[in-house]
């Protein structure tokens, strides 16, 4: 985005950074489609090469991945389960991005959401009735995520610390908080795998009847609609985009930029916190050392794949969840480590990020 050459005539020295002047020309639809096709084909071709080097037959591998991912009911359900936290995690990137902020902290915000949900359960048990406890878990998780992101917002507002850096660092702090809790105060069993007590059945997220899919997907889809509405139809959505586009102009127009920065990041954090709650109360039921690992980074990339738009985020989350489910087939059928699907994920991203810009950028 900003690594482009600065045009030679841009800006007098000392003047506030002028955005590089660019003419944005929309490419015709067929060209965009062609670029996407070529980029994806390139990614799969490159992954085929990697597979071939490892002695696996690419075509057979793809066929196996396809069949085990999309032709089994169980896998399809698994995709929906896995795409839920990705949707929320990606929205958590999209909202701050609208305000010109980079939230790389989904990882930590998801963990803190899970921790808050677990803490709520450990504190209350299922005494208050499942409905109320679930609601309190949701609220606590959202608040925890919002506070964790709010820390980064405060650091930016008070000390000018870039939020991309602070949210990234807070991920590691959150991970250490999680490990501290499950290795000591919240540990259920002093021997064996360190985990917390399993969530009582009554307060697990209910499943959609007849499937294994938890109702978190409903929350996620509602969030997509609400966030879409907030960003495109409300005053707040408009204001954060003004603050994101040109903070100085927003300030001169009388907008409270600090409040917009704080609220955009905190809304993002709250969404990631919800993802953590759903991962805890709908999927894992207990905190363990790898809780939510890589969900935040994957969601960040899903958001980029969707170019920060709520609708396409659902599609991007579906793609990443499918890839993750396909990883199991890679391990079982082709005998390759599950993590190797990361190669395909990265190749797709690199191809899309590098070669499908929907606008032609012309340095003027």
């Amino acid at each position: 985005m900003t690594a482009t050459l600065t045009p030679p005539d841009a800006g007098a020295p000392g003047a506030p950074e002028p955005a590089p002047r660019r003419l944005a020309l929309r490419l015709p639809t067929w060209q965009v489609a062609l670029r996407w096709t070529l980029a994806l084909a390139g990614a799969f071709a490159a992954f085929s090469l990697v597979l071939a080097i490892k002695g696996a037959d690419p075509l057979a591998t793809y066929q196996g991945m396809w069949e085990s991912t999309f032709q089994r009911r169980r896998s399809l359900e698994e995709i929906v389960i896995q795409m839920t936290p990705l949707i929320l995690g990606a929205l958590a990137v999209a909202v701050p991005a609208r305000a010109g902020l980079t939230n790389v902290g989904g990882e930590g915000q998801i963990i803190m959401g899970g921790v808050a949900a677990c803490g709520t359960f450990l504190l209350l048990g299922d005494r208050l009735g499942p409905g109320l406890v679930l609601l309190l878990m949701l609220v606590a998780a959202g608040a925890a995520g919002a506070l964790w992101a709010g820390l980064a917002a405060l650091m930016r507002l008070l000390a000018g610390v870039n939020e991309a850096i602070s949210t990234l660092l807070l991920n590691f702090v959150a991970l250490d908080v999680l490990l501290f809790l499950i290795y000591q105060p919240w540990r259920e069993n002093p021997v064996g795998q360190p985990t917390t007590e399993e969530l009582a059945d009554a307060v697990k997220l209910p499943v959609v009847s007849g499937t294994r899919i938890n109702t978190g997907i409903v929350i996620a889809l509602v969030a997509v609609v609400v966030v879409g509405y907030l960003m495109s139809r409300t005053r707040w959505g408009f204001r954060i985009s003004v603050a994101g586009g040109n903070g100085e102009a927003a300030r001169r127009a009388g907008l409270k930029v600090w409040l917009l920065v704080l609220s955009a990041l905190m809304v993002g954090g709250a969404l990631a916190g919800l993802a953590g709650m759903i991962q805890f109360a709908g999927v894992e039921y207990k905190l363990r050392p790898g809780f939510g690992a890589q969900l935040g980074y994957t969601a960040f990339l899903a958001c980029w794949l969707a170019r920060h738009r709520p609708g396409p985020i659902v599609v991007a989350a579906f793609v990443f969840a499918s890839l993750s489910v396909a990883a199991d087939s890679l391990q079982l059928d082709a005998g390759l480590p599950a993590a190797s699907v990361n190669v395909l994920t990265a190749l797709i991203l690199v191809a899309v990020l590098g070669f499908t810009a929907s606008k032609k950028k012309v340095s003027a």
């Binding site: 985005m1 950074e17 000018g160 850096i165 501290f180 480590p337 190797s340």
Partner: protein, 306 residues
Amino acid sequence: MSLVVDVLAGGVAGGTSIMYAALGETVSERSGVINLGVEGAMLVGALTAYAVGVESGSPWTGALAGAVAGGAMGLLHALLVVYRSASQMAVGLSLLFLALGLTSLFGASYVGQAVVGFDTWEVPGLSDIPVVGEVLFRHDPLLYLSYVLVPLTWAVLFRTRLGLLVRTAGERADSLVVHGYDVRLVRTGAVVAGGVLAGLGGAHLSTAYANAWFENMVSGRGFIAVALVIFAVWSPWRVLGGAYLFGCAIALGPALQARGYGINQFLLDAVPFVLTLVVLTILGRRTLSSAPAELKRVFENAPSPG
């Protein structure tokens, strides 16, 4: 007393891989490109160095291969962000995933294999100095190389024409254009150099520090390096100090536990990250104002949605 020496010596040993990566990131960021994929370049460097070390029986060949592999990761980053104008943050993270996948795919067969790693080589004379000798001069040769690289990086950046080109690419790219230089080429060179150093950092981790390869062994050191560069205000000398500080924080936990102090490891693990956050908050605007101008653009012009 010996606790202090242990922690300091452990800090130097453990901080070295971070220092290599952070030096590389300094060069890259000085040219105006942030690379969140340092973590990935370190991983690829660590595995390549280990694998080549196992196959060739020479840790030096391994380290060289690790450096080349890290450079290749840097080149990939540069091609995408410099020539294709893709988002620096997103590409960096994508390349981390690429590295996680590739090293898991090609590294599985090296888990548990024995490597001829770098041996400790006590510097004659110097290693006998009390405290200082133990802390600084009873390590492996790849670590000693880093002692040379810090002043070298500083000298190249601030005392040569090449360094001037790199810094100008990061401060006022347009004036390079005016003088007929190719900004993209300069940036690519800087990012590749950054990758080479990150690869060396990875090599130090697998063939000198841990003498082992396991999946995701870099575990956040690359991200610490990115933070460290800001902590160090883009200065190679401060990178040196910062890296050892981080190393000591990491070394403190095991050293205390070895002496029977019951300390929760994870609280200590959080110390370097909290420390960085606190220092960034205190230094605050001062750090930001000394950031390379082109880098500030990367930070401030966040992704334009849509």
